[in-house]
Each structure stands twice: as structure tokens, then as C-alpha cells.
């Protein structure tokens, strides 16, 4: 089974970040508080389903689905 990523979450679903699928992207995401072990919650989606909004470490982070797909969760 392929790894589940943040892009696969349903609205309101929580998950814990495990690892990243892309090194360059992970640098940007780490700085924004997407750390391994951090809990995230998919809090909303833009009208066309992309970008998505993530509740991470107490604030709202908007990112594209393709970027969210590099954040693997448990």
C-alpha cells in the first residue's frame, strides 16, 4: 500500500506527520512548522479543491495538493 499523505485527508481529519517525499519542498515545509511528529488537521479546501488549508501548530497554512502529497502521515 502506498503511503498516505496530507493530500488524502478528509476535511476535519487529523493526522501526525511522519516523513517527507521531497527534500527541497521539505525545507520549506519544515520552516513553516510542518515537523515530523506534528499534528495537522485539514481544515478546508479552496473552491476547486486545490490549494488546501492545513491547521498546523496553531495557524492556517495554505498549500497546493501536489505539495501536500509530499507530506506523509501515519
Amino acid at each position: 500500500m502506498s503511503k498516505r499523505s496530507v493530500a488524502d485527508l478528509k476535511i476535519g481529519e487529523r493526522a501526525t506527520i511522519q516523513s517527507f517525499g521531497n527534500q527541497v519542498m521539505s525545507l520549506k515545509l519544515l520552516e513553516m512548522g510542518c515537523l515530523p511528529g506534528a499534528e495537522v488537521c485539514l481544515c478546508g479546501k479552496a473552491p476547486l479543491g486545490d490549494p488546501i488549508c492545513l491547521d498546523v501548530s496553531g495557524y492556517c497554512l495554505a498549500l497546493r495538493k501536489s505539495e501536500a502529497a509530499t507530506i506523509f502521515v501515519d
Partner: protein, 704 residues
């Protein structure tokens, strides 16, 4: 009197700009950072009787590893003690409601060895979220002064003053680095320190990782650092990832000790509730569309009474001058040349003010970020980015700051495409032309009770600009290929009430620079034009007058004067010039008078109206009072057909021409500066002018 430099550093939305406004009040200026064209905001702050500090507001960043060009600047300054803006003290503004993430940047700045003060902002927001921060504990754990402030109300500024004073007199630095790279890569750090004469381990690390972006290092030094990386087989990305994780771990421990968080998990804040509506599949776009419509209504309908008042004022002044001054060339120059030209600009102040008022309200409230989110998916299709929305919307005001705003776009290709298409957005300089021509051909009627038909026509032109910008972006996307991955990662700030003084400053700044920048060009061109239109080669103008008198001996004085004036203009230098280019613009429906205006407006579009004012008030002859350019154009007759000169076909052709035409030197200069090449302004000029010519040609031929 000493004058230390104080830099404000912080995450976006942490309240830096609020603090900046609090400290500097109206004593602020904008300029460029030396060597780059990012807007630099600086102002003065009287700390005490002896000390007036220079406060520099740096771009908001999440870390000192830059993701975009404007972020690069922060590291470029903080890592270079020889920089003119290198601070004596850096005030790091942090959002207490998001302490965890905000402290990342703080620890990095502190590790660079800059004397820092932590300004704990937004404690009220944190309090509402049931979070309390113990500032004393935090100061002890971090080893630096921590000051509680409220940047919106100005609370805590006295303590900040004291902290800054003591940091200047006797800088206290944390005893040891928060993250010491020598723990992980001792050899590399030691070698770098020794070769580059550095005494800070973290600064040495920045030399290693960021040397390509550091403008203060020469080629030789950069190559030397590459060699060091090879020698130690150093992997920058892995190391940086490790650094971030380590920092966050230590921060988490500190936050756990200094902050209590009793916020129930999973309870949505009111920002999130609002987002459910604003990001809604249907309502999200509907609201955005409604707001855009509102902006156009404001520009066109609400600004009208103010514009009429200014118009009347200028006409009155013109009349007064003509009466009180002796008739002669000097009076003519002042009234028909200078006042006619400048008056044509002053009249657009209300529209520009309304536009910037609304745009700055959208930015201030936090709504603009939502627009970026809902537009990203659509923009991506065209090779743009959600972040391109701000340049495109700002382009409605002026392309020059809009092009500079593209610096926040991290991907090079997305940024280049945004720069190239932004001038297609109808800027405020086109407004004068649009307004006058629309008023000529579109009746002022109400539609559906609320909307003004002219307002809708105006909106149509703006939409045409937008559509062409998107289309051009799509075409450019096909030509510009790149391996670089486009990305969009952005914090959505919580909604806030706008800071009215901030909004006021933005409006004031934009109006002032519009009047000042545009006014000077227009003044100069008005004078040159007046001279060109008042004098001709040899005695051609006098001959023309004599000819008219001979041919029409029976004409009434008024009509005779008009005829004479018109023939004299045709014989003048300006007339000769206009006739010279007439063949090329004839297919678009233009005559030589419009030709003169087209030529002079190559410098800046807004010159068009000033030129028309100059040309037609000279052609007018008799000193009618209070006649606006629009009314004058309405009266203009086509010498061949005897009907009105400004037929709908001609007016629409001109309108369409100005929708597309690249008639702005400043924009080309901005593109050149931002892309650092002449190729892209060249491409821009060429494709936009061809588009303008062809579209205007098609419009005229179709409507004729």
C-alpha cells in the same frame, strides 16, 4: 547626536509594519535598498533627547533561508556587518499567538550575533485563544531582553525604548548559540571561520550555505566556499533540515515552560468560520466578484462628485488667471499649457485614492491572502501563481509597484511571466483616457437600478485587460520551459480590523507619488507641446492665418477665430509632426491631432489627456470658461464628413488601443531592473504594441 540603526525583523503578519508606524509616525520615507530595487521603508524614531534612531522595516520572512528575492535581502543585511543598513539593534517582532513558529526566526537572528530584542506582540490575540506567555521566563530562557508590546495601540513602547537604549549602550548577547553548527560539522565551520576571518559559527554556516546569494562576497570568495563544501562532502539541504528540526525541538521545550495553552483542541476560531464562507466553492467566487464590482463602482461612480469639483476648481482658476494676467504668450503658456495639462491629472486624484483605499483595506483585513488561495488553481493553468494575484490587482493602480511586488513569488518562471503580463492590467494612468472616451460614447444610464452603464463599460475594459493578461501568460508559458518546480505555500493570516492610519498612509503615499511623478512628466511635456503647437517653421503659421482670412471674408468673428486657430495649429511644428505620422495611424481611424497625443503619450499614458487638453484648448481660440476636455471633444467636427469627429468607432478604437499599448517608460525600466536584462522589456514592448495596433485596427474597421 548619535543615530543608531534599528532593524525590524519578523514573520509576515507578526505586526512589524504596525510597530514601524507606531515608532516613526509620519517621519518615514521609502527608498531602495542599496543595489536592489526592493522597497525600503525607513523612518526616524526619537528614542531620547540625544538619540534619533533610523528604523528600517525589513521584508517579513519565516527564516533566514530566503525563498524569494525580497527575502534574500534580510540575510544579505544581517550577515554583513559592513552593510549600510546593518542594525545596531534588531527588534524581532513575534506573534505571541503563534510563538512556536515565530521563535524559529528569532533564534536564527540571535545566533547571527546581532544584538536583539524580542518584542512580544499580539498578546491580546493569544489571550483570546486562552494562551498566556510569561515574558520574564522567556527572557531568562533566551538570554535576551523581551518586551511586551501591542503594536496596534502603542502599548509597551516605553519599555521598548528602554530596552533599545540599554542594548545600544551595552549589548547583551546570549551566552551561547541556540544552535551551534560546529557541533555537527566542526571541521567545516573552523575552516570557514579561519579563511574568512569570522568569529561566529552560525555566520560561518550561512557563508557556506548561502554564498551564492550573498552579494557582498566576490567571485573568488564564493569559489573558495564551494571548495570547502567539496572538501567536507557537506550536504546543505540535509544539514538545513536537521538544523530546523533541532531548533524546533529546543523551541518546543522553551514554549512548554513559558506559555500556558488552555485552548480546547479542535474549536474553530472565528477566522476559520469566516473562511468557510470566503473559501466556499460558490460563495467564495461570488464574494470576490462582488468586491471587484464594488471597486469599479467606487472608481467610476462614487469618485464622480469629487472629480467634478476639482474640474470646476481648475476651470475657475484658469478663468481667473486669464482675466487677471495681461494677454500674451506667458499667460497662454500658463493657462493653455501648464494648467490644462496639470488639471487633467489633478482631476483623477479621487479615483486613485478610492482605488488604493479599497486595495489597502483588502490587504489589511487579511482578505487578499484568501483571494490568492481561491485564485491559485486558476492562475496555475495560465503559468501564473496564486501570488500573482497581488501584482495583477496592484497593476490596476500602477504597473511599477506591481512589478516590484512580484518579488514575493518564489519561482523564477512564475515571476517572469507575471512581470511580462502585469502591464496589460489597466493601470490608473489609463483611467483618464477611459473615462473621457467612455463618457463620449456610452450614455450615463442606470442598469438594474444600481449600476451605471458607464461603470459597466469601464469594468468591461478592465476585464479585457485581465483576460488578455491571462491569455498572454498562457502563451508565454508555452515558450518558457523550466525544470524548476512551481510552488505555493502560504500562511493565511487571521482576519483583522484594518489599521486606519496605515490605510490612510497608503492612500496618501500613492496619491502623492501619482501627482508628483506623473505631474512632473506631464508638466514638462505640456510645456514642450505648447511651444511646438504655438510656433511653426518659418512664417507658415502666419501664412495659414492670412489664407483663412482671405478665403472666408464673410465669417463671423467667433467662427473665424476658431478656423484661424485650427489652421495655425496644423501649420505648427506639432501639426507637421502629426501629419508626418498620420499615414501609419489612419487605418485605426486617427487623425493627426490624435497622432500628436499618441506620440507624446509614449512617455506615460496619462500624458494623452494632457496633450488633448493642450491641443484642443489652443484649437479653441476663444477663451471659453469651464469647458472640459470631454466637452471639447464632443464639439469637435470631422472636417471631411461634418459629423462628430469622435464617432463610436474612433473612440472604441482608441480605447482598445490603450487597453493593450505599452505606453510607459517607467514600466519598461522596472522590467529591466527586475529581470536584469534588456531582452524582457524588449519582448514586452514588442508584443504589447503589436497587440494594441492589431486590436485597434480590427475594432475600427469593424465598427466603422
Amino acid at each position: 547626536m548619535s543615530s543608531p540603526v534599528i532593524a525590524l525583523v519578523g514573520n509576515p503578519n507578526a505586526g512589524k509594519s504596525s510597530l514601524f508606524n507606531q515608532l516613526t509616525g509620519l517621519r518615514q520615507k521609502t527608498g531602495n535598498f542599496p543595489g536592489v530595487t526592493v522597497d525600503k521603508k525607513f523612518g526616524t524614531w526619537s528614542i531620547d533627547a540625544q538619540t534619533v534612531a533610523t528604523v528600517v522595516d525589513l521584508p517579513g520572512v519565516y527564516s533566514i533561508y530566503p525563498k524569494s528575492l525580497d527575502e534574500q535581502l534580510v540575510t544579505d543585511i544581517l550577515a554583513n556587518p559592513d552593510h549600510t543598513d546593518y542594525p545596531d539593534v534588531a527588534i524581532v517582532v513575534v506573534d505571541a499567538s503563534n510563538l512556536h513558529r515565530n521563535l524559529l526566526l528569532f533564534t536564527q537572528v540571535a545566533d547571527l550575533g546581532v544584538p536583539v530584542i524580542l518584542a512580544l506582540n499580539m498578546l491580546d490575540v493569544a489571550h483570546k485563544q486562552a494562551k498566556e506567555v510569561n515574558a520574564v521566563k522567556l527572557a531568562m530562557r533566551l538570554g535576551v531582553p523581551v518586551v511586551r508590546i501591542n503594536a496596534r495601540t502603542g502599548e509597551g513602547l516605553d519599555s521598548l525604548k528602554k530596552a533599545v537604549t540599554s542594548q545600544i549602550q551595552e549589548p547583551t548577547l546570549p551566552g551561547k548559540l541556540f544552535f551551534d553548527p560546529a557541533d555537527e560539522a566542526p571541521g567545516l565551520i573552523a575552516d570557514t571561520r579561519q579563511q574568512y576571518g569570522l568569529d561566529n559559527n552560525y555566520l560561518a554556516l550561512q557563508y557556506v550555505i548561502q554564498h551564492d546569494g550573498f552579494t557582498f562576497l566576490n567571485r573568488q570568495q564564493q569559489i573558495g566556499l564551494d571548495a570547502l563544501i567539496d572538501k567536507y562532502q557537506f550536504n546543505e539541504q540535509t544539514f538545513q533540515a536537521g538544523e530546523t528540526i533541532t531548533r524546533y525541538k529546543r523551541i518546543a521545550a522553551i514554549v512548554a515552560e513559558t506559555m500556558t495553552n488552555q485552548r480546547p483542541i479542535g474549536q474553530p476560531t472565528w477566522s476559520q468560520k469566516l473562511d468557510r464562507v470566503l473559501l466556499h466553492p460558490v460563495w467564495g467566487y461570488a464574494i470576490f466578484g462582488f468586491i471587484l464590482l464594488l471597486i469599479f463602482q467606487a472608481i467610476f461612480a462614487w469618485a464622480q462628485p469629487f472629480m467634478d469639483a476639482i474640474d470646476a476648481g481648475v476651470a475657475w482658476l484658469n478663468g481667473q488667471l486669464k482675466e487677471s494676467m495681461p494677454a500674451g504668450p506667458l499667460t497662454d503658456l500658463l493657462t493653455d499649457g501648464v494648467l490644462a495639462g496639470v488639471g487633467g491629472i489633478l482631476v483623477f486624484i479621487p479615483q486613485i485614492a478610492f482605488l488604493f483605499l479599497l486595495i489597502s483595506l483588502l490587504e489589511e483585513s487579511g482578505y487578499m491572502s484568501r483571494v490568492m488561495v481561491i485564485m491559485d488553481r486558476i492562475m496555475r493553468k495560465f503559468g501564473l501563481n496564486g501570488r500573482s494575484v497581488v501584482p495583477l490587482i496592484s497593476g490596476v493602480a500602477c504597473a511599477v509597484p506591481a512589478i516590484m511586488a512580484t518579488r514575493s513569488i518564489g519561482t523564477r518562471r512564475d515571476r517572469l511571466i507575471t512581470i511580462l503580463v502585469t502591464p496589460l492590467m489597466s493601470c490608473s494612468a489609463r483611467l483618464p483616457i477611459y473615462t473621457i472616451l467612455i463618457a463620449l460614447v456610452v450614455p450615463s444610464q442606470r442598469v438594474l437600478g444600481v449600476f451605471n452603464l458607464q461603470g459597466l463599460a469601464l469594468m468591461g475594459l478592465y476585464l479585457l485587460g485581465l483576460a488578455s493578461a491571462l491569455l498572454a501568460a498562457y502563451v508565454l508559458k508555452l515558450f518558457l520551459r523550466t525544470k524548476e518546480r512551481s510552488y505555493f505555500i502560504m500562511e493565511l493570516p487571521t482576519f483583522k480590523l484594518p489599521r486606519w492610519n496605515h490605510v490612510g498612509l497608503t492612500v496618501w503615499e500613492s496619491v502623492r507619488s501619482f501627482v508628483w511623478e506623473a505631474g512632473r512628466v506631464i508638466l514638462a511635456i505640456s510645456i514642450i507641446l505648447w511651444v511646438l503647437a504655438s510656433y511653426g517653421p518659418g512664417d507658415a503659421m502666419d501664412q495659414a492665418e492670412a489664407r483663412v482670412r482671405q478665403q472666408h471674408p464673410t465669417l463671423a468673428t467667433d467662427q473665424l477665430q476658431n478656423q484661424i486657430a485650427s489652421e495655425r495649429l496644423e501649420a505648427s511644428y506639432a501639426g507637421v509632426f502629426g501629419h508626418f505620422i498620420e499615414p501609419t495611424i489612419r487605418p485605426l481611424g486617427y487623425d493627426w491631432k490624435i497622432g500628436i497625443a499618441l506620440l507624446s503619450s509614449f512617455a506615460a499614458r496619462e500624458v494623452f489627456v494632457g496633450t488633448m487638453a493642450t491641443i484642443y484648448s489652443i484649437g479653441d481660440g476663444a477663451d471659453e470658461e469651464g469647458v472640459t476636455v470631454r466637452e471639447r471633444l464632443q464639439q469637435e467636427r470631422n472636417p471631411k464628413t461634418g459629423g462628430p469627429m469622435y464617432t463610436p468607432a474612433l473612440a472604441w478604437s482608441l480605447l482598445i488601443f490603450y487597453v493593450f499599448a505599452m505606453m510607459c517608460m517607467s514600466t519598461l525600466a522596472a522590467t529591466q531592473r527586475e529581470t536584469k536584462s534588456w531582452k524582457w522589456p524588449g519582448v514586452q514592448l514588442l508584443y504589447m504594441m503589436s497587440l494594441a495596433y492589431l486590436a485597434a485596427f480590427a475594432t475600427y474597421q469593424f465598427l466603422k
